[in-house]
């Protein structure tokens, strides 16, 4: 039971150990969330919000570290090259036309 979404704390709207609330931005919308479990949060921090309650803060350094580690992995030109060795099954990547998947997808705009 785990749908918790990261959002940025814009500002506190109410203080108090129990009643604390803050306005949190999620992409294109913001919503007031309950902050009793993250009393040390500061505006600008990213929080994990579940069922309207902030349950933790996102550690930006760890996030950056993971992304950097993954970016250091060797790149692969064609996705189709990977799956080709597993089976003959076409995974839709190498169709060569506008219906390719992955970053090449997006079709015509």
């Amino acid at each position: 039971m785990c749908l918790a979404i990261p959002g940025q704390l814009l500002h506190w709207t109410e203080t108090g150990a129990l009643r604390a609330r803050g306005m949190v931005q999620f992409g294109g919308i913001a919503r007031e969330c309950f902050m009793a479990c993250v009393p040390e949060a500061e505006p600008g921090d990213y929080l994990l919000v579940h069922a309207g309650v902030a349950i933790g803060r996102i550690d930006a350094a760890h996030a950056a570290l993971l992304l950097a580690e993954l970016a250091a992995l060797p790149a692969e030109d064609s996705f189709a090259g990977d799956s080709g060795k597993d089976s003959g099954e076409d995974n839709g990547d190498d169709s060569g036309d506008d219906s390719g998947s992955g970053a090449a997808a997006g079709g015509e705009r």
Binding site: M23, F26, R31, S99
Partner: protein, 354 residues
Amino acid sequence: MMNDPALQCPIASSVNDHRITLAHGEGGRAMRELVRGSILGWLGCEERFLDDSVELLSHSAASAATPLRWTTDSYVISPLFFPGGDIGRLAVLGTVNDLAVGGAKGMELSLALILEEGLPLSTLQRVVESLAQAARETGVRIVTGDTKVVPRGAADQLFITTSGIGISLPWTIPGPCGIAVGDVLLVSGPIGQHGVAVMAARDDLGFVPPPTSDCASLWPAVAALHEAGITPRAMRDATRGGVAAVLHEWSAACGGTMRIGEQSLPIRDEVAGVCELLGLDPLHVANEGTMVIAVPPADAQRALLALRRTTVAREATIIGAVTARAGGPVVLEPSIGRLRVVDEPTGAPLPRIC
């Protein structure tokens, strides 16, 4: 008739003149005053008279090549008012859009109201005035109507049924059964806006800014396609069940697979944010001013350009294509990983926390 003071403003027939009562539905004086004194005024009907039945004026404009089209729809939405629209606006645009995606321009509408006892007159006024505004914008005329009142609890404030008559453009749209392998799939704009707006308003979810419905007339987009010499294979406004419902229906009709690309789907940031937060799939969320279109591949680019020249479809996008049946009726190319099946909606999309 216009000089009759009795008909120039809503007349109080009882102490509760600010709310609908059962008397308003009984066909007597109270009803006459409600309809002629209030409703017709709010509709902007100069004559203050709408007959029970009416000769179709659009009949004379119709012909074998441009036949009449007819549709009906009921509107029971709650809440009545939401950012971007209301039940009155929907009642006109929804029906106009049903005609439009059938290739016809809406001309005349009937209007049937079912009012719950206790409905504030001010609410009714707001709804009817919005309905009238939508009618003016789309050029349809309300030509006949009916009003009923039901006891408190028998209706959720207000239900509306509109039937619309339109005149087809001179084209023959094959419809879903005529969709062929290779056809290109487009949407006329960003998806998921209406359902999110209504859900947020109904449950008072407190989003800032409040998500806005895409409620709009699709006729200009349809007309633009025709003007560009394009005959779509099929068009459908993606209302309940969203884009996924339309694509499932089309797959069932033509037997092919509707294959769409995740990266291709146009989704506004605010809709994306709400859908992430509530665990909704934008493909399953209702739209009220956005349609799915299937066109022959040779017409795809021109269709896109024609649509984008209109306001309502300025963000039209190609989202995929029709393939021979494989993998399921509707499949999605995710950014990562293999094709996955897009479920047919089984009920209203519900928020989840799991």
